[in-house]
């Protein structure tokens, strides 16, 4: 039976619609995976000598033991955001004569073969081997240690699923636990009670009595059983396998009425952003990026490289423009045929998107004004960048949008989500960011700061002046690519 499951899995991977279409993306992801694998391996090999050199008076193994809990905590956090149990894939199996327990077991066992579980192995094994070799620790002790640590890592794997079941839809419920962690941290900080010490002494005990490594393994089995029970209980269509239905409320943003004929689309876009996971998170990302200036402005190293400030300016005032604009009109992909057969003039549709983005640029620019604290130059550059964004980058992004062919599912989380990403998204960064930086850098270097800033702003103003003509051209491009877009947006599957 398990063999059949595995063959299903195999087919699911190789026959997925995206394998052929986004091979480039797969290669990119593979590179990232290889990169992380190498980093972990190097760290695994180098950890012992590094620690020995940095803190010669302590034993590396002892340091690692004390940091173990923190490492596991971080790993749990990372997994919470990135790793999911693929529950949906088993939905078609429900009606087949397969014992439910088998399907659940398969799902849980399959999760062990995740990349997340492979990486720590690259860290633990070389370190254990190195330590055994250098410290004359007995092989048995180090094997016991490695087994115990890896057992704990796998415990994190299953703990994550339990946590996700409980908290994924209700992050607020996590609050008491966060408080508990903070309390533990405080106790540790003021040396009242050290939980990391406790874990460390546990690991020391394992080193002395390697058979104690069974304890994490027993914990692992217990967590597995717990997961199994939870899943078995919830393995019905109306429970976990069905999507959540949220209470809806009608809103109509009447105040947008004064925008005239683009008002209906603005209303639609605002609802799109508020009501769907992926675009909604863009707002938070945009606000987070506001802090970006803090990295560059106070840093003396960048004071002589004002071109960097152009990058920061374009990025901060245009972050929403970049994140939202690069997937226009893919945000509307799930109902694009309707948009194309309804009574919607393309130019009006595009103008409304432009209006929304321009509004975001203005708002973000206002939010960046406190950076004037780091000098008037910063403020002036940011203003020029905002004008450049409005006049030049907005039409470029909209034009690039007519080469979007990839569907976007609005309800998927944006973390590590490359759905909808194609060559267009990568290429677009060049004119968007690189060109203004080069223009500024050249003029600033060879003429003066004032000329450089004025040129950037002037380019923006030219774009604004000829907005109507430019938008006509953009609309033409949408018209030309219409059939290919409709067809592309219909292709479901990753």
């Amino acid at each position: 039976m398990y063999r059949r499951f595995i063959s299903l899995q195999w087919k699911a991977f190789f026959r997925s619609a995206s394998l052929g279409r986004s091979l480039g993306l797969k290669i990119f992801m593979a590179f990232i995976a290889i990169y992380f694998a190498i980093v972990f391996l190097l760290l695994g090999v180098g950890l012992y000598p590094l620690l020995k050199e940095a803190l010669p008076e302590q034993e590396p193994l002892n340091i690692v033991n004390r940091w173990l809990l923190i490492y596991l905590g971080l790993e749990l956090m990372m997994r919470f955001f990135l790793q999911t149990l693929p529950v949906m894939t088993v939905k078609p199996l429900l009606t087949f004569p397969i014992p439910r327990k088998k399907v659940v077991n398969y799902m849980l066992l399959q999760s062990l073969f995740s990349f997340f579980n492979f990486l720590p192995l690259l860290l633990i094994v070389p370190f254990a081997v190195f330590t055994a070799y250098k410290e004359d620790a007995s092989a048995a002790a180090m094997v016991g240690w490695a087994v115990a640590v890896y057992g704990l890592v796998l415990c994190v794997n299953y703990m994550n699923f339990l946590l996700k079941k409980k908290f994924a839809d209700n992050l607020k419920a996590l609050l008491p636990y966060v408080v508990a962690i903070l309390v533990l941290y405080a106790l540790e900080r003021f040396e009242i009670f050290g939980i990391t010490e406790l874990v460390a002494s546990g690991m020391e005990a394992v080193l002395e009595m390697p058979f104690l490594a069974v304890i994490p393994l027993l914990l692992l089995i217990a967590l597995y059983k717990w997961n199994q029970n939870v899943l078995l209980k919830r393995f019905y269509l109306d429970e976990s396998l069905k999507g959540k239905v949220t209470e809806a409320r009608s809103q109509d943003f009447q105040w947008l009425r004064k925008f005239g004929n683009i008002a209906p689309f603005l209303q639609l876009d605002l609802k799109l952003i508020w009501r769907n996971k992926r675009p909604r998170s863009l707002i938070f990302i945009s606000l987070l990026i506001m802090g970006y200036g803090m990295i560059f402005y106070p840093n003396d190293a960048y004071q002589d490289m004002q071109a960097f400030f152009v990058f920061v300016g374009i990025f901060m005032t245009g972050i929403f423009m970049i994140n939202f604009g690069q997937f226009i009109p893919a945000w509307d992909s799930s109902y694009y045929s309707m948009m194309m057969s309804q009574n919607i003039p393309l130019k009006q549709y595009l103008n409304s998107k432009a209006a929304l983005i321009i509004f975001s640029i203005v708002l973000l620019t206002i939010l960046t004004t406190p950076y004037v604290y780091f000098g008037y130059n910063v403020l002036i550059i940011n203003l020029a960048c905002a004008v450049y964004n409005i006049g030049v980058n907005v039409p470029i992004l909209l034009l690039a949008g007519s080469y979007n062919r990839k569907r976007i599912d609005l309800e998927k989380s944006p973390f590590m989500n490359y759905q909808g990403t194609g060559a267009a998204q990568w290429l677009i960064a060049i004119p968007l960011m690189v060109i203004p930086i080069i223009i500024f850098w050249l003029l600033n270097k060879f003429i003066s700061f004032e000329v450089a800033v004025i040129t950037l702003a002037a380019l923006g103003f030219i774009g604004i002046l000829f907005r109507s003509v430019i938008m006509d051209m953009v609309a033409q491009s949408y018209k030309k690519n219409k059939y290919a877009m409709i067809n592309g947006f219909k292709q479901t599957g990753e």
């Binding site: 999507g243 239905v245 949220t246 209470e247 809806a248 409320r249 009608s250 809103q251 109509d252 008002a263 209906p264 209303q267 639609l268 609802k271 799109l272 009501r275 769907n276 799930s334 109902y335 694009y336 045929s337 309707m338 194309m340 057969s341 309804q342 009574n343 919607i344 003039p345 393309l346 609005l410 219409k482 059939y483 409709i486 067809n487 219909k490």
Partner: protein
């Protein structure tokens, strides 16, 4: 009834064909649909029904030929959009809107204000059967049948002259099917609306359409003015075609 209407053409199709990878999926030499006609399209899977409707709406590009909607070439101008509306599949619904918001959005596009839309929706209280309006649900969370109801009604907002509905009866419960048939009959009798419907259900189409065109592998194989005998004729055609195919395949096996 049809005699009372001024006969002028609403939709004209000339030399229309669509080829995918060398396979011709639709080839219609000439077809005219007069204003105000209720037009039914039947055929087996793969006969080209949805392809035909998509071509009418300029959602796919014809390989050859043209579609004229009220003398406007649909692939060249957008002028046909104000008086044409359609519901092909769920991709015509905006999942994150409530049905009310969706109706208002479509109303906006068709120059109807909220009050107009609300008054219009009053006529459909029976049809909705209390399952669409005021339920505080997004369209994406409605059942397939209820989504279809919302889509069909949205297609009727703003008194369009041409309405295109692909498989409107599929997924509907029996009560709604009966109500939808009554609705379509009423619309075609009392207004000048040209209604194009496709269906797998021969009984439904013969009940509501004045004219029925049968497509088979992209070709028009029959063009009937509906009468008492039409249902029998259609049933015989499809049963015969099926029997013939079975015979052929069994012959093929024997060889």
């Amino acid at each position: 009834m049809a005699l009372n209407k001024p006969v002028n053409k609403m939709i004209t199709v000339t030399n229309l064909s669509k080829v995918y990878n060398g396979t011709c999926v639709l080839n219609i030499e000439h077809l005219e649909i007069p204003r105000g006609q209720s037009f039914g399209l039947v055929g087996n899977n793969g006969a080209g029904k949805t392809t035909f409707f998509s071509l009418l709406l300029d959602l796919i590009q014809p390989t050859t030929g043209n579609v004229f909607n009220n003398e406007i070439t649909v692939s060249q101008s957008e002028e046909w959009k104000p008086f044409t509306s359609s519901f092909i599949d769920e991709s015509f619904l905006i999942g994150y809107l409530t049905p009310e918001e969706y109706f208002n959005f479509v109303g906006d596009l068709r120059n109807r204000n909220k009050a107009d839309v609300a008054a219009f929706l009053q006529n459909f209280e029976d049809f909705f059967n209390g399952e669409i309006l005021g339920r505080n649900k997004y369209l994406r969370d409605l059942s397939k049948g209820n989504q279809k109801k919302a889509g069909i009604v949205a297609a009727l907002i703003g008194e369009p002259e041409v309405v295109i509905l692909d498989e409107p009866f599929a997924n509907l419960d029996p009560t709604t099917q009966i109500r939808l048939k009554a609705l379509i009959r009423e619309l075609s009798e009392k207004s000048e609306m040209t209604i194009l419907i496709s269906s797998h259900d021969l009984i439904h189409v013969t009940e509501v359409c004045e004219r029925i065109v049968v497509l088979d592998k992209g070709l028009v194989v029959n063009d009937i003015k509906t009468s008492e005998a039409t249902l029998k004729e259609l049933e015989q055609y499809f049963a015969g075609g099926y029997a013939k195919e079975v015979k052929e395949s069994s012959q093929a096996e024997n060889i």
